[in-house]
Every structure is written in structure tokens, then in C-alpha cells.
Symmetry: C2
Subunit: 298 residues, 2 copies
């Protein structure tokens, strides 16, 4: 069975009754499992994590977006987090037995439904973007809800789906596809934050380092050590082991050692298997050799 993850962000984080109704609408779809949801009052925003097969996931998140369109009024919304719509962003994330291409198709299918059935303008973003300048979510959302009516008039920012007219109550929704993000931190046996910052700079993509890695140095004051805190934004391009081993190599020049690591939050099994595969030097290991993977097939 395929597994697609979806992490819709809704512009309501204060009224718990509204939040529960949106989550309930998602849960009401058979085959959908809500793994987590959390609201932030200052951001006035709720992030829901759900999973389902590629056949079911669109219906699940659509029901959430429909309920949000009904219950959230953007004309009175205030919050610290940038936002442009009642359902603000919806990324689809491939987890198991589903390709990125298929997740892009899911984004398009959902975008079209939100546009046509809910009359909400939709922008495709990240891997699903219809043009390069729409890849980056921050750019798509720039100007936020307050600037949307004007922005939509520009040719460059015509919505991908839905009405070309502004929808005051619901704003607009960004629907996209991206790889799962793995939060991976590597600990060093020094309290020197300068060393951590130098290593982080050499390891991260922006510094000339590894593809799809964001990294920064962090002090763990209680433990008296420092850490390279990373976001692995595409574990297929750069697996966990490569980041850890490169940090080890970079740390050597300072006489510093890696003393441990941590994975924060959820990680797809695949990301760990890539790492077993490397360290054991497995030849031709197939994922369906993992007993659990055989269990939920067909």
C-alpha cells in the first residue's frame, strides 16, 4: 500500500472548536490517519499531519480545506506567521511506494478541486510549481493575504486553478509537493561554537557542501557541547550517513570528534534503510525483504 503524507496549515490557532471541526472533517474520510496536529496561538495557525494512500489522501485533505473555507474568515485573521489563505499551504510528501511525480499529480488534482468546488484561487509551489518563479513558497506568499487582491492581477501571479477574482473570506491556497524533511543533529565533543559554525558552513548546501542539507551550529549549554543541527530536505540526494561522515571528516582538523546524533520527530523508514545499506555495504538489498513491508502490500 502506498503512503503519502500531507501537512496542511490552517489559519486558525486560537479557536480550538474550529480546529477540532477541521481535524474531524479530515478524519471522517476512511483510510486517512491524522498522526498529529498542533496549534500556535501567536501564529494563529494549526499544522495537521495526516497520511493515507495515494487514492485516499486528496479526499482527506479536501474535506479539511472545505471545512476551513466554511469556518475561517480571513477578513478578521491576525497572526505572526505569514499566510495568504484559510487553508494556507498543503504539501504532499512521498513516503512509501509512491513517486514524486505522483505527488505532483495529487497536488494538481487537489488544486483543481479546491479551485472549482470551493472557488478559492490555488497556486502550485515547490516540485508542483507551474513556473520557476513559483517554486519558493515565500515568494508565492509574499504580500500575504492583505496584498493578494492586487498580486492576483499581475500576469506573473495568475492562480493555477480557481477564480481569477479575489476571495475575501478564504484568500488563496498554495498546494505543492516536496520530499519529507528529516531533522538530524550531530553532537561534537567540544563546547566551541565557532568550530560548530565553521563545520556547519562547510557541510550545508549554501556553503558549498552537501546537496539538500541545511545546517547551523547550536550550543547545548547544559551538556557543555555543541551540535550541528541539520534539516535534510531530500534524504535521497543526501542520506543521513553522508552528512554524519562529512561532519566527522571536517571535525578532525580541529581535533574534535562526533560523539552522537539525534533524529528529531518523524523519519521515513526509507531514510534509515539508506543508512544501513551504506554501513553494512549491502549488495542488492531490496526493501521488500523487510518483513513489515511485506505485510501491508496488496
Amino acid at each position: 500500500m502506498s503512503i503519502v503524507q500531507c501537512v496542511p496549515n490552517f489559519s486558525e490557532g486560537m479557536n480550538q472548536e474550529v480546529v477540532e471541526k477541521i481535524v474531524e472533517a479530515i478524519r471522517s474520510v476512511e483510510g486517512i490517519k491524522v498522526l498529529d496536529y498542533s496549534s500556535d496561538k501567536d501564529h494563529n495557525r494549526t499544522v495537521v499531519t495526516l497520511v493515507g494512500s495515494k487514492e485516499k489522501i486528496v479526499e482527506g485533505v479536501f474535506q479539511g480545506a472545505k471545512k476551513a473555507a466554511e469556518l475561517i474568515d480571513m477578513t478578521t485573521h491576525k497572526g505572526e506567521h505569514p499566510r495568504m489563505g484559510a487553508t494556507d499551504v498543503i504539501p504532499f510528501i512521498p513516503i512509501k511506494d509512491v513517486t514524486m511525480e505522483e505527488c505532483i499529480d495529487l497536488a494538481r488534482t487537489l488544486g483543481q478541486r479546491i479551485g472549482e468546488e470551493l472557488k478559492i484561487p490555488v497556486y502550485l509551489y515547490e516540485k508542483a510549481a507551474s513556473a520557476t518563479h513559483r517554486t519558493n513558497l515565500a515568494k508565492v506568499r509574499k504580500g500575504e493575504y492583505e496584498g493578494l487582491q492586487e498580486k492576483m492581477q499581475e500576469d506573473k501571479w495568475k492562480p493555477d486553478y480557481g477564480p481569477s477574482a479575489f476571495n475575501p473570506k478564504s484568500g488563496a491556497t498554495a498546494v505543492g509537493a516536496r520530499m519529507p524533511l528529516v531533522a538530524f543533529n550531530v553532537n561534537l565533543d567540544t563546547n566551541n561554537i565557532d568550530i560548530a559554525n565553521k563545520i556547519a558552513k562547510n557541510v550545508r548546501h549554501a556553503g558549498g557542501g552537501l546537496h539538500s542539507v541545511k545546517a547551523m551550529g547550536v550550543e547545548l549549554k547544559e551538556r557543555g557541547i555543541v551540535q550541528i543541527s541539520m534539516n535534510m530536505v531530500d534524504y535521497k540526494k543526501t542520506p543521513l550517513y553522508r552528512a554524519k561522515e562529512l561532519i566527522k571528516v571536517e571535525a578532525q582538523r580541529y581535533g574534535v570528534s562526533v560523539i552522537g546524533s539525534e533524529v528529531i520527530g518523524l523519519v521515513p523508514m526509507d531514510a534509515l534503510i539508506e543508512t544501513v545499506d551504506y554501513y553494512l555495504g549491502l549488495e542488492e538489498f531490496k526493501k521488500d525483504q523487510i518483513l513489515e513491508n511485506r505485510l501491508f502490500q496488496g
Copy 2:
């Protein structure tokens, strides 16, 4: 959801119709999944691999044993593999969210049902054994079907469940609990089988090496290399990484390197996670951080 694996062996490997009926009886139980079954004509024996939750697994394998009691007649059975009953052995194997203690309970529950409902003598073995001398399956089965009637008269070999009288049609069944076996081979960059044999001897438990590891040297003639072929009979006692790293250390004295490895057949996810955990030096990683593990809970 818990996952228990069960690998019953039936004394029929020639009559495919009988084999299919036994497998069908197992499959007819809701919640049971038959992952694999294969028959050997020389052994005149079929090995079925099924999985199910701890609530369902006993019913699944019981239905198979019941059908085997109906369709297999041990009075006429011939085959190269040692055997003492129509359903010869039934090991329960903990895979996920289930303890060895619980698997021992499953063995007892099933043993009692087979004894009472099918009137077949049952011996508990391995981790489920009711006495030390019954732990080893080869000893329980010694004398085979032909010697069973006499063996059952000895106080030492009174069955754990079922009639104390010999059942000529069905013989006896051994029901037990054990850890999953992982077939793990490590390849070396030499064609010298003596080196492989020496390393295998130092690594395996019988040679003073690692607990729960069976190992032997094997030539891969086509590739011109040798291999340490291992059965990891308890990956919690000796994880895969430890065997690989010890082979690396032992190989060094011969100037030989590890050039790869392979896992043959099925492996529980847990056995791979132990290995990721070691190589990344993960601190406090919890298995429910693996997204797939969250999916099938509750």
C-alpha cells in the same frame, strides 16, 4: 498493531492439492497473511510463513494444523527431512510490539488447543520448553515418527498437552517460540577459503565468538571471493553491525578487507534499526519516530 510470525512445517511436499488446502485453511482466518509457502518433494515437507497480530495468529495456524490432521496420514509418510507429525513443528516468532514471553504464551495456548481439540500430543520446545532437555528441537524429534509411540512412554518425554496415547495418523507436533533468524553474509576480498574458515570459527558462538551467531566460510567461486555466511539467531543479543565489525577486525590480521554483505530473505525492521542506531550513534531514538510505525498503531 503487534506482529507475530509463525512458520509451521507440514509433512506433505508432493501432493500440491493437500498443500493448497492447508494454506487455504490458514488464509481463511481474517487478519492472517500468508507471506510465503514452499514445498520440497525430497523432504516431502512444506514450510509456510504467516503473520498476524497476537490476537489472531493462533487461530490462523490452528486452522492449518486442523486441516493437516484431516488430510495427512503419517502411517504412509516418507521423506528425507526428520519429522514426527503431520504438522511437524510450529515456531512463534516476535516481530513487532510483542515480547518473547507473549510468544511463549501463544505456543502454550495453541499447544493446548491442538492437544484437546485435535487429540494430537504436543511438545513445547525452544523458549517455550517446559524442561531444559526439551529445548533443542532435534532432541525432541529424535527417533522421529517411527520411534514416537515408544518414546512417549518415557516419563522424560510425556507430551506437554494432548493424549498420552500415540496418534498413528497425526504423530506429534512440536510448538515453540524463538527469535527471528536473519541470514547475513559478509564478503571478503580474498579467494582463500582457509582464511574465511578461520574468521568464521572466531566469530561464531561455538568457537568462543559472538553470542547467537552461527558462521561458516563459503567460496563464491564465480566471483573469486569467499564469504562468512552467518545465521544470526538473536539479533537483539548480537546485532548485525557487531558481526560485521568483528569480521573486519579479524580479517585485518590476514590483510583482508570486507567488501560487502548481503541479507538473504526476510529481516525484521527492528534488526536494521539496531544497526542504524549504532552507526549514527543515535541518542534516545524511539521506534515510533519511524513514520511507518505510527501508521498501523491503535
